[in-house]
Assembly symmetry: C2
């Protein structure tokens, strides 16, 4: 097999210890011995059992762990969940699968279920047959702290994105000479991340270029040809064994104007301030403030159109969320982005985003692509460890 | 620009008439003049307004159409929704966006909301401030009937998948000579669909090979090397301007065994029976029965692990659903799959899936990839129109 086609980085990552997770969750079950948890969120289900299909539920009780899914996924659920000790029921008929759920919950004094993860109609139907307890999923909370096995997957994903961007950057920066579109850049990045071992992209790659598209933080890639003078935002991540990465680099095509240099430098300072503020015990709001104050002080506060970052794991966006409305606390083991940006119609925009893990000592940057926004830019080199 | 990089097929498709959709929905509003609809499903929002971002709500009343979204999407929402006449509010703070929602709903006697599309916690929070009416989304229903503009996008998507598979099939069938993995086949298909004008894949491409993987209808692609004697299932679709396509072709690598020939022929007959049963006025359950009876009669009923098909549009899986549990009716303008399959551990599996539109006269096949499961297979050619 051709090596450039990409070997599987997950193979060399430590095995994820599902049994430990199941034990952890069990220890948090209701004190009464006959309480049960019903999990319906697919990402929670994957974290707990390993099963990654698109339909299913999981029941956790003191003495059992049951996965219910439809006929398409029986084999897959059995294989993927083997480390968790789960029993799998696969039923083609929805009515039969529902009976299996009631069987798995028989005798439970109450059934805890996350109301944010369950539709109102599903909740109402279940509430007719079960004594439902509306509780926030303990899996969601546990997922915030990444263990070494998870971290190795996130790092492999970040590495695949770094490697792909390294190859595609020259194409992008040569856009003045050989015509290339936003879609071309995206297509090459997504194809090459897989060549570098990614299972997939982490999310739809953003390539936002020029005075209008780059002014939109979440622009949808178009077939616009990139031209001299454009600002360019490339927001790209990879997926390895279900774990995401996330980074953004920004560029100017050709010689930057004074305004472009000035705005880019401001985003760089803000980004640096966010990284400096990231430490266990700080709040996600403080991190957002650190980035935001740089822009406010320079009079560019209204060019900043989003929060400063978010957690990354089995979901590309998960707590903690760095925003002014956030109550989230930063803990050791969190993997988060720091991603300030400035955007304006008729100008375009810049965003700089790194992925970091919060450590006992401070934080460690998982994104290794240098900032090369334009020729001659002297990077304020980000060291890979940030003692705080 | 290099033509092989793919021009945008949506450009040559008729414009989607959003104003007509808004009028249609308005005419279905509560008879009382001060009723309101709140839409929270992102696909419903895209169908109605054109806005395709990942966060937002829409309020529809007799005299207003309002989109609320966060700061990342303001510009994009305004551009994309221009044909719908919507007013857009973009707010960075969730609390401020919520105030905007209450403003947009001020004075409404009741607010209709789909309980299947809203989380229980969201519903409970809104119910404290508003008089909520639990009603199935009328957009979901309207979406079942595709107009000419939608059909042209779905056909362009199906065409991109056809063109990619045509290029990749020789690589796959030569797997005995030049080693190739499931992931390689997937990577090439997804890359090439874009070269043929797709914005993206429609869903994660399935390439399931050999006695175990092909025995799983929804196998997750691995790095398994494809070898002589394998059965192979390739389930691939493209995305054009938000619209999906869906098809499956199956193969044997090298010379097929008698059992492989027999099972493949059975799937072919079942697939043909499903197409023959598809007509306006039939039920989705009847279509499922037509396919299922072929397998049951041959003694292979328990090798068939899923329903026979589903609607396709802005969602890859949407009503009508062809299954024994379905109450759905088939109508002119439905775009649906017919996709029977047989699966067994130690054997592998086959599935054949076409995408069809239901017409006044019967149905029309939108999938144009011939069935070439192995050399010498004589296709029971599917004509492109099916008068029933």
């Amino acid at each position: 097999m051709n090596e450039t086609r990409g070997s599987d980085p997950a193979v060399s990552c430590p095995t994820i210890d599902r049994a430990r997770r199941v034990d952890l969750l069990r220890s948090q079950l209701q004190e009464s011995e006959d309480g049960a948890w019903l999990f319906t969120d697919l990402v929670d289900i994957r974290w707990l059992t390993g099963f990654g299909g698109s339909n299913g539920w999981v029941v956790l009780r003191g003495d059992e762990l049951v996965i219910g899914t439809d006929g398409r996924y029986g084999e897959r659920a059995r294989t993927e969940s083997v480390g968790s000790g789960a029993t799998v029921f696969a039923e083609q008929l929805r009515s039969r699968l529902h009976e299996r759920l009631l069987e798995a919950l028989r005798g439970a004094s109450s059934v805890a279920l996350d109301p944010a993860m369950t539709s109102h109609s599903e909740w109402s139907a279940l509430a007719k047959e079960l004594d439902l307890l509306p509780l926030a999923s303990p899996v969601k909370k546990a997922r915030r702290i990444k263990d070494a096995a998870e971290l190795s997957r996130i790092e492999a994903a970040a590495g695949a994105a770094d490697a792909a961007l390294l190859e595609v950057e020259p194409m992008l920066l040569g856009a003045g000479d050989a015509p290339i579109t936003e879609a071309d850049v995206r297509n090459e990045l997504e194809y090459r991340m897989r060549m570098h071992g990614a299972d997939d992209r982490s999310y739809e790659t953003i390539v936002a270029t020029g005075p209008e598209h780059a002014a939109r933080p979440h622009h949808e890639v178009s077939r616009r040809t990139i031209v001299d003078g454009d600002t360019v935002i490339v927001d790209v991540g990879a997926l390895v064994d279900g774990y995401h990465s996330d980074m953004t680099r920004s560029y100017v095509i050709g010689e930057p104007t004074e305004q472009q240099r000035e705005i880019y430098a401001l985003v760089e300072v803000s980004h640096r301030a966010g990284i400096d503020a990231l430490r266990a015990g700080s709040t996600a709001k403080e991190i957002d403030s650190a980035c935001r104050e740089v822009f406010d002080d320079a009079g560019y506060g209204d060019w900043f159109l989003h929060g400063t970052g978010h957690g990354v794991g089995l979901d590309i966006h998960e707590p903690p969320f760095h925003s002014q409305a956030s109550d989230d606390l930063i803990e050791v083991g969190n993997v988060v982005t720091i991603e300030p940006g400035l955007y304006r119609g008729n100008f375009g925009g810049f965003r700089i985003e790194d992925l970091l893990v919060v450590t006992e000592q401070g934080s460690r940057v998982l994104t290794h692509t240098p900032q090369r926004p334009f020729p001659g830019h002297s990077q304020t080199t980000a060291p890979s460890d940030h003692p705080n």
